[in-house]
């Protein structure tokens, strides 16, 4: 059973009488968000919320577009991991043209692309965004908490440069497969548009010894940081939840294609072998008036007990093994942290992320040596149908794309559940934990508020990806007096109707 020990901080009883503190914007995350805290006169936290302030409409404006255009269009959701949307969209489109299994060349090219992007996205997140807090310390001055300051420091310059070069390598893998480092084209319905050029292999493969060394160094850095202050890391922003991830047929770590597994917070497997196309049966979404981001949960367990986490920590906690030796050794050591039970600490996400960087580097090394990438059929076809679901593990976790098309092949309905949305409850619970345990009753300083952001950053949220719904969010408008007394309230319901409340 999951605990929501800090649930009482979601909504304060009398918000009108409380002091409001906002962290706006939340920095060093992708997209735009803010955190609001409501405090009483004694400085006790009464409410803590993560808000998404962007508003976009991808699900709406792809309606009426031809299905083959969708993967290239939706990848514009993001500039950090567009490949995730390209691939999830492509998998959904494969289904629309009746393709379940791609030819080996096409599937391996997509996997290579995906490993390249998970590697670069993880490297970007850790080294560029999250590491300043961890390397300089939570209480370091804000001026120092950025990647440029790390590059100017004698102590961290070399390791951070390695991180930057890791990302560059991942980007180059992407460019080799889809022509551009960001927003390229490669997947077509039922396949890919080209093999890998031998020239690209000859350029990339010789770098792998060094890339693997950088990945090992990064992993060791995070491991050492975590263990050097293990007690603190175990307690900071720790929440208890289930974990949801794709796994292979035999329970192995998987990023591109597999079955959904849910491991409970007590380590038991709650659900296994769930088919991606059936997701509407086991994942439901709750909407709340105060956020543009929905709150998914496992239908069988309900919104209170059925929330879960996705992403690197969920994948490492959920799988039985990783099929590359160095990453597998790292996974085994990682799981010893909590005696084989799922690791629950939010900051353990960084460790899990670095295990996956090493895994991706190993996979890229193996794939570049695979002759299937350079020859063989690139596409296949089946019978077109009207509905397609594509699910992958994006760097930040399970990503679901779901499309319906009409007889002409134009999109009539789209639903995207992105990784960050799955983690919505978890991120809110994490900041409530930090607010309650570290801020409550204390004079708020910049360094204390930064702890809230550190908790959010651990999840590597992509807020711009997560806010894409249009016309579905309930909205409440209050007209209030200067004293905080509500005079009138208008509510727009999920179905678009507006009424006085």
């Amino acid at each position: 059973m999951t605990e929501r020990r800090y649930r009482h901080l979601e909504t304060a009883e009398n918000p009108g009488n409380l002091r409001r503190v906002a962290i706006d914007p939340v920095t060093r995350v992708e997209g735009h968000g803010k955190v609001t805290l409501l405090l009483d006169e004694a400085g006790h936290v009464r409410q803590a919320r993560l808000h998404i302030v962007e508003f976009r409409g991808f699900e709406k404006f792809i309606q009426g577009r031809p299905y083959w255009e969708v993967p290239v269009l939706v990848q514009r959701l993001c500039g950090i991991c567009p490949v995730s949307h390209l691939l999830a969209g492509a998998k959904a489109v494969d289904r629309l043209v009746g393709v379940e299994t791609l030819p080996p060349a096409a599937e391996k090219l997509r996997r290579l692309l995906h490993y390249g992007q998970v590697l670069q996205s993880h490297a970007l997140h850790f080294f560029h965004l999250a590491s300043p807090d961890l390397l300089f310390g939570f209480d370091s001055t804000p001026e120092k908490r950025n990647v440029l300051a790390l590059l100017c420091s004698d102590r961290f310059r070399d390791i951070v440069l390695e991180g930057i070069q890791l990302r560059k390598f991942g980007q180059e893998v992407i460019r080799a497969v889809i022509g551009k480092r960001i927003h390229g084209t490669g997947p077509i319905p039922g396949g890919m548009n080209k093999h890998l050029d031998a020239a690209d292999r000859d350029r990339l493969a010789p770098q792998l010894d060094e890339v693997l060394r950088w990945a090992r160094n990064g992993l060791e850095l995070v491991r050492a940081l975590y263990l050097a202050n293990a007690d603190h890391h175990r307690r900071f922003a720790v929440i208890r939840s289930h974990f949801l991830a794709l796994v292979t047929g035999d329970g192995g770590h998987e990023l591109y294609d597999g079955r959904i597994r849910v491991r409970g917070d007590d380590g038991r497997i709650l659900f296994d072998g769930l088919r991606d196309r059936d997701y509407t049966g086991y994942i439901h979404e709750q909407v709340k008036a105060w956020s543009y981001m929905k709150f998914p949960y496992l239908a069988a367990l309900g919104p209170e007990e059925g929330w879960y986490r996705v992403g690197p920590l969920a994948r490492i906690n959920t799988c039985n093994f990783i099929d590359t030796p160095e990453a597998e050794a790292a996974r085994r050591e990682f799981l010893r942290l909590d005696g084989g039970l799922p690791v629950q600490a939010s900051l353990a996400y960084h460790w899990a992320r670095m295990i996956e960087i090493l895994h991706c580097a190993e996979k890229i090394r193996d794939l570049l040596a695979d002759p299937d990438l350079y020859a063989g059929d690139l596409e296949t076809r089946g019978s077109r149908c009207h509905e397609g679901v594509g699910v992958i593990e994006a760097p930040r976790g399970v990503l679901i794309h779901h499309y319906r098309i009409d007889d002409d092949g134009l999109v009539t309905k789209a639903n995207l559940i992105v990784s960050t949305t799955h983690n919505n409850t978890a991120m809110n619970e994490a900041i409530r934990q930090v607010a309650a345990e570290y801020l409550d009753g204390r004079r708020l300083t910049e360094a204390l508020l930064n702890r809230i952001e550190i908790a959010i950053r651990a999840y590597d949220p992509c807020l711009s990806c997560a806010t894409h719904a249009i016309g579905k969010m309930p909205l409440v408008v209050d007209l209030a007096t200067a004293a905080g007394e509500t005079l009138q309230r208008l509510v727009r319901h999920g179905d678009g109707t507006v009424a006085a409340a």
């Binding site: 031809p66 255009e69 290239v72 514009r76 319905p189």
Partner: protein, 240 residues
Amino acid sequence: MTRFTLDGREIPFRPGQTIIEAALAAGIYIPHLCWHPRFPPHGSCKLCTVKVNGRLCSACTFPTAEGQEVVSDSDELRRLRRRLTQMLFVEGNHFCPSCEKSGQCELQALGYYLGMTDSHYPHFYPRRDIDASHPEVLLDRDRCIFCELCVRASRAEGKNVFELAGRGIHTRLVVDSPTGRLGDSALEAGDLAARICPVGAIVLRDTAFRVPIGRRKYDRRTIAEVSIEEERPLLGEGNG
């Protein structure tokens, strides 16, 4: 042979040739979108505007004459063409980032060629219908620039599938079929009318994103180079 001067260079011409034909025959590119060497000139896009003896004229319709002084490559004309291209972009819904014609689109290639870095004018965001009823051809009116190349090609093929209807800002590309839908027309994927669109308004289904980035028509060559290599050999083939 009779001659005129183009940007100070002497260009030979045959009687009856337009300026754009004589220039292309001599290996000189004058920007254009609605002109195609296989069809009679249309004179609508105005991208080929040049100065003939000091007056602005469309190079695709204006006949050559002995001793003419023609200016095409000047800052003034480049600015004018850039403005025209920007107007074409804002008048329709041209979203290059997700357009399957990207990299093979004449409008996009011309934008690059003319140094267009923004759309300058406010976007119209017109509401236009997409027609995906044909099993092999997609008609996406969002991207139509009303060049009438499809109209002329279909007319030459004896099918008259396409026509422009309405006037001014209400102009739209219509289909001659009992329902007005492309799927009920006589158009076939092999028709030149289905393949001549310079932008992404008429595209063959199942071709999207098949050409990898780096191998697309305008990835390595400018529109000027492509025109000289691919359009020059067609001169004299059609009615031009």
